[in-house]
């Protein structure tokens, strides 16, 4: 039986860069199911929180603890960046790369990559250079590359920030399918409409700290802090 990497417990974690505090102290627990939306204005620390969860930022103080040792847990997480990195390869090879670096044979990796590309709607571009794709297609490729390892936790950093409505809907559909297959999703956004559509629970960030957390239903109906209330009403929160 495979042990889950969840829950994730973050205790008083602080991320620093060159001595200056980026975020923290953060106290947060991530349960085993659903979609968590990390909300907040620009510069509130959403990206840093996701990077901390994925191990791309180290906690200078406090701790970040998955339910299993980090060396095992890191193989069962995946990250999608706001601006997807397109390798100088074909679409198929870009997706297959995530498997080949994990030890899968290239031929098998390419086969599975093609299946995954078809699942996300990139069947028309399998052998095309990843760099010439449209913005929406690039983001779909990035999500496919993240999902091909069947991660237990998928972290997405504003994946739809630069996309139009149609591309956003396609990415959300892929996320919905992943959730249906048991993938735990944590996504940052400052798009309130998207947050309301997707969230099971919400983490509201402000000034590098978790300002408010709760179920999506409660957060959107009756936020408990005036800053969250103002943010939901479209006011500028600083």
């Amino acid at each position: 039986m495979v042990t889950s990497i969840l829950p994730l417990r973050i205790d008083a974690a602080v991320v620093q860069r060159r001595g200056a505090r980026l975020i923290g102290p953060i106290d947060l627990t991530l349960g085993p199911t659903g979609i968590t939306i990390v909300l907040g204005p620009n510069g509130s620390g959403k990206t840093s929180l996701l990077r901390l969860m994925h191990g791309m930022e180290r906690a200078a103080k406090g701790s970040v603890a998955w339910a299993i040792p980090e060396t095992d847990a890191r193989e069962r997480r995946a990250f999608v960046f706001q601006t997807p990195t397109m390798m100088r390869r074909s679409v198929t090879d870009c997706i297959a790369y995530a498997l080949t670096v994990a030890g899968t044979k290239r031929s098998e990796a390419r086969l599975r990559a093609k299946e995954m590309a078809c699942q996300v709607g990139l069947e028309h571009a399998l052998e095309r250079s990843a760099r010439v794709l449209s913005g929406g297609e690039k983001q779909k490729l990035a999500v496919a590359r993240a999902l091909i390892r069947a991660p237990e936790v998928l972290l997405l950093d504003e994946p739809c920030a630069n996309l139009d409505g149609r591309a956003t809907r396609e990415i959300e559909t892929i996320q919905g399918d992943a959730k249906a297959h048991g993938t735990r999703i944590v996504m940052s956004t400052h798009d309130l409409g998207q947050a309301a559509r997707l969230a099971d629970d919400v983490v509201f960030m402000l000034h590098g700290r978790v300002h408010e957390t709760g179920t999506a239903e409660k957060f959107f109906a009756a936020p408990s802090t005036p800053e969250a209330h103002a943010f939901l009403n479209g006011q500028i929160v600083e």
Binding site: M56, M87, Y97, V101, R131
Partner: protein, 234 residues
């Protein structure tokens, strides 16, 4: 002006008549430089990638030295290799002085910093682009180096061609360690130097045009084989 025209005519005559001496020294030029570039690439490309990916205390110093070595005076390199390989030198027992191998060693010393430095510049830019992705995929350092080398192969090809250009046109070092011996170590550049010294300007110019044509032909061949300009944005 007349001498240039005579040189072109002489070059055409040498090529059309398939002059056996021209073919011999051309093939030797190709053999020496191609071998030197292959060895230099084997050293310089991983070195460039390693310098781009690794962080260590004296990294900046190493990169600065590498960049400075691009301008190594060939004559000094020739002298250095000569001292190493001369009968009384530390490697004199190998008996390599005045052989094509000595010329290859000298060219490797000249070409390697050039290839490593250009490779480092290209891979450093790609590493800045790939950094977060490769870290997020939990790649090992070796996997990062291999990935960066593969994905920047077009730029690395340019680095190798730059190395080939430097090597094929080099005369100072190989003259010293090769000795310009007929039927043994004479190559196009040393033959040009010899004919110029003898006052045979037309023949020297003719050999010069052959050398330029050879360099262009090799570049075209490599670009054609690797389809550098035909695959769009990769």
């Amino acid at each position: 002006m007349n001498e240039i025209v005579e040189g072109l005519v002489e070059a055409a005559r040498l090529i059309v008549s398939l002059d056996s001496e021209l073919i011999e020294i051309t093939l030797r030029s190709l053999q020496v430089t191609t071998t030197a570039v292959v060895v230099s690439a084997a050293i310089g490309l991983p070195l460039g990638a390693w310098l781009a990916v690794m962080r260590f205390r004296s990294r900046r110093m190493v990169i600065a030295i590498l960049n400075a070595l691009m301008g190594l005076p060939p004559v000094v390199v020739g002298l250095f290799v000569y001292v190493l390989l001369s009968r009384s030198g530390p490697l004199g027992v190998l008996g390599l002085l005045f052989t094509p191998t000595a010329m290859i060693i000298a060219q490797v010393i000249i070409v390697t910093p050039l290839i490593a430095s250009i490779a480092h510049q290209a891979i450093r830019d790609l590493w800045a682009e790939y950094h977060d992705l490769l870290i997020s995929l939990n790649t090992t350092k070796r996997q990062r180096v291999v990935t960066l080398l593969w994905d920047s192969r077009r730029a690395l090809l340019t680095a190798c061609l730059a190395g080939f250009g430097r090597g094929i046109g080099e005369v100072g070092a190989i003259m010293i360690v090769g000795g310009n011996i007929d039927n043994a170590t004479r190559v196009l550049t040393t033959a040009i130097a010899l004919e110029t010294g003898k006052g045979n300007f037309a023949l020297a110019l003719g050999l010069g045009f052959v050398l330029i044509a050879l360099a262009i032909a090799v570049n075209l061949l490599i670009h054609t084989l690797s389809r550098t300009e035909s695959s769009g944005t990769w």
